[in-house]
């Protein structure tokens, strides 16, 4: 079954949507959209370094994404606004990555598949990494769910309950790096944030509790992944952007139906 590239693509899309849908809720609640974006853009530098030093792309992306997160923390600690620091990191990382790839000796390497994704070329190993990463994200978020929610509502409430909100934030940052690494092959660095934000924002219209929102976001993410793949096959369009287009369509339908119900 896994010999079929379409089956592999569908499974890769589902695995990514699962992890991104769940984590995306926290990204929306904590207003970390731009933070996720900066990590994803910086991941391009990770890809370039991995290609240059012939390392695993997965590991290279995780390490660079985490390095960018810590760089962000130290920059904002020194009086830069979060907004400006993220702008420097996002575009600095992207530009450095594009330049670094051009400097790699030998034949020219195209970064296109990492910028826009290439889910149709996913190998069995990629699939194992994607699902491995997704399972880790689901497990860690499930274990930390109550503490993460409390810390998201108010760091002070967390402290008073003996929860360290900084630790929870660190957990979330690490999971975000993992999702970026998992999703880069599927939707590409430029559109990863879409997969985090859009399903969660769509789910908000229908949800009454955080858990409900997470479940709906995961469902919408999965639907977008399969729908986008289908659309790409029918219209011969790139898969990553097609997935995001389906997600946006879900968002619009949800928003309009929400308005009608109100």
């Amino acid at each position: 079954m896994l010999d079929d590239f379409l089956v592999r693509a569908a499974l890769a899309g589902l695995g990514t949507a699962l992890a991104a849908g769940l984590l995306g809720c926290f990204v929306v609640w904590r207003r970390m959209a731009y933070f996720g974006d900066a990590m994803a853009h910086a991941a391009v530098l990770g890809v370039a370094l991995s290609l240059g030093f012939e390392l695993s792309i997965f590991a290279g992306v995780i390490v660079t994404a985490l390095a960018m997160a810590f760089l962000f923390l130290s920059l904002t600690g020194q009086g830069q606004s979060a907004d400006a620091a993220l702008g420097v990191i996002a575009h600095g990382g992207l530009a450095l990555g594009l330049v670094a790839v051009a400097l790699i000796p030998g034949q020219r390497i195209s970064l296109d598949s990492y910028l826009f994704g290439s889910v149709l070329t996913v190998t069995r190993l990629d699939l194992a990494i994607i699902w491995g990463g997704a399972v880790i994200v689901l497990f860690v978020i499930w274990r930390h769910w109550q503490s993460l929610l409390t810390a998201t509502l108010s760091p002070d409430l967390a402290y008073a309950a003996g929860i360290n909100p900084r630790r929870e934030e660190l957990v979330l940052t690490m999971m975000l790096a993992l999702v970026v690494a998992v999703a880069i092959k599927v939707v590409g660095a430029l559109l990863i944030t879409a997969l985090l934000i859009i399903p969660a924002a769509t789910a908000r219209t229908f949800a009454r509790t955080p858990e409900g929102m997470a479940m709906i976001a995961i469902g919408i993410g999965g639907l977008s992944a399969l729908g986008g793949l289908q659309m790409a096959l029918l219209l011969d369009t790139p898969v990553g952007p097609s997935i995001v287009c389906v997600a946006v369509a879900c968002f619009m339908i949800a928003t309009i139906s929400g308005k009608l119900r109100a």
């Binding site: 109550q146 108010s154 409430l157 402290y159 008073a160 309950a161 003996g162 009454r208 509790t209």
Partner: protein, 251 residues
């Protein structure tokens, strides 16, 4: 029994001293109120006590496994985060339905569990925060300007609820307020804070203390009278008598 004690706490932000050599003890079952003008470090002191702010110097000692119920000044729930009252009460630990209903009742609310937090009025919201804090069976309940944004009858009724909670749960209560006249009458001890501890003692002692009057003016004496016997009020206006009174109350 001392549940919580802070010793010589110093906190400064960017060279500005917010707290200097502040010490405080909280004993089981007592109600202590911290009063002070805006920017006097009241909220910072509470944040030091719950562990949210690391002091530059000084120590905080708590009894082992001390359960703290914290009611923040305000809680802004991001509009993207759907949250029913019932779900909120389950943070950070899941509670039974019966316990949740009981806590809401203790906090003076009917069963509003199915409602969204965002749909509550200001007074209801504060009571839900109180209910959530009570569910942890706290040994210490800390309230940071918990009635900010409530009108006077609203905050008076909120504080009556607090006294009722103390009676039924027997927990110590540490609250921060600027609504002196409402809060002081319910307190066992008052600490007047302005970066450092200006004075402390029973409400009578503090309201008569020169340091307190310097910070809040004598006008509050009149406000206090609303909740005190007439003759106390006249005493506190008379300088000599107020000294006598201070000694009496301190004994």
């Amino acid at each position: 029994m001392t549940l919580l004690s802070a010793h010589n706490i110093d906190v400064s932000f960017g060279g500005r001293h917010v707290l200097q050599r502040v010490s405080l003890d909280l004993n089981a079952g007592e109600i202590v109120t911290i009063v002070g003008p805006n920017g006097s470090g009241k909220s910072t002191l509470l944040r030091v006590l719950i562990g949210a702010q690391t002091p530059g110097a000084g120590q905080v000692a708590r009894t082992d496994g001390l359960r703290i119920g914290y009611v923040p000044q305000k809680l802004a729930i991001d509009p993207t985060l759907p949250m029913t009252v019932r779900r909120f009460l389950d943070l950070p630990v899941k509670v039974s339905h019966a316990d949740a209903v009981q806590a809401l009742e203790t906090a003076g609310l009917p069963d509003v569990g199915h409602q969204q937090m965002a749909s509550l009025s200001g007074g209801q919201f504060q009571r839900v925060l109180l209910a959530r804090a009570l569910l942890g069976k706290p040994q210490v309940l800390m309230l940071d300007e918990a009635t900010q944004g409530l009108d006077q009858p609203g905050s008076a009724s909120f504080y009556r609820q607090i006294e009722a909670v103390r009676r039924s749960l027997g927990c110590a209560i540490l609250m921060v307020s600027h609504e002196l006249h409402v809060v002081m009458s319910a307190s066992d001890r008052v600490i007047c804070l302005n970066g450092h501890v200006c004075c402390e003692g029973t409400p009578e002692v503090v309201s008569a203390a020169p340091a307190y009057r310097e910070l809040f003016g004598t006008g509050t004496g009149g406000a206090l009278a609303l909740y005190r016997h007439e003759h106390d009020h006249y005493h506190s206006h008379d300088h000599d008598h107020s000294h006598d009174h201070k000694h009496e109350a301190a004994e």
